[in-house]
């Protein structure tokens, strides 16, 4: 079982609020990812990080921001939530040492609803 945790699991929040989605992993993985997934739709990479103090934008443009101050922690922040941000947000991690990339492990996701 993967040791990657996301909180909260479900969040309903009003328009204009600032929110932070938490993601932590205890596997010591250097690379971490945030994906956005609408119901029944594909995964879209929105942010990733190679390690501490590294953050990169993914393939899908997002108004969210991320930070990586500690290896195990990769929070995602929305400064002003809008209904268009309603979606499921999935955090994942993988190891990239020893010349190869390991499989990605996912958290259970945060289902965000902005009203």
């Amino acid at each position: 079982e993967a040791d990657i945790y996301q909180t909260p699991r479900y969040l309903v929040i009003g328009t204009g609020k600032k929110i932070t989605l938490e993601c932590s992993q205890t596997m010591g993985h250097d690379k971490m990812y945030w994906y956005q997934q609408d119901p029944g739709m594909e995964l879209h990479l929105i942010h990733y990080s190679y390690g501490v103090n590294s953050t990169e934008k993914g393939d899908l443009s997002s108004e969210s921001t991320v930070s990586r101050i500690r290896t195990e922690h990769f929070p995602l922040t929305l400064e002003s939530a809008r209904p268009s941000h309603t979606s499921q947000y999935l955090c994942a991690s993988s190891e990239t040492g020893r010349g190869r990339i390991t499989e990605a492990f996912f958290g259970q996701g945060t289902r965000l609803t902005v009203v």
């Binding site: 990812y33 739709m41 995964l43 999935l90 990339i101 499989e103 990605a104 996912f106 996701g109």
Partner: protein, 112 residues
């Protein structure tokens, strides 16, 4: 053309059937291949991880990679209603900077 193609289904089979799920890809640099199972409203769960061509078996699941044809498969034997989920293929290359590329997923229903 997308880098990874996967029939989205839905695919419905009777309990006990053998299920074949497939992905094709265009990037010959892909070396690592994964299959994930995702239940509704949950995160994807890793089922199989393979490197290079060949077969890998784990219980009722068999993953097959044919790099010459750029084609990967997941076979589920003796399918159960609990196998009803969306199955995603994913792949990556050796390049440290390369991210995983996921297929859109195939929705599978196993009917009792």
């Amino acid at each position: 053309q997308k880098e990874v193609e996967q029939d989205p289904g839905p695919l419905s089979v009777p309990e006990g059937a053998i299920v074949s799920l497939n992905c094709t890809y265009s990037n010959s640099a892909f070396q690592y291949f994964m299959w994930y199972r995702q239940y509704s409203r949950k995160g994807p769960e890793l089922l199989m991880y393979t490197y290079s061509s060949g077969n890998k078996e784990d219980g009722r699941f068999t993953a097959q990679v044919d790099k010459s044809s750029k084609y990967i498969s997941l076979f589920i034997r003796d399918s159960q209603p609990s196998d009803s989920a969306t199955y995603l293929c994913a792949m990556s290359g050796r390049n440290y900077g390369q991210n995983f590329v996921f297929g859109p997923g195939t929705r599978l229903s196993v009917l009792p």
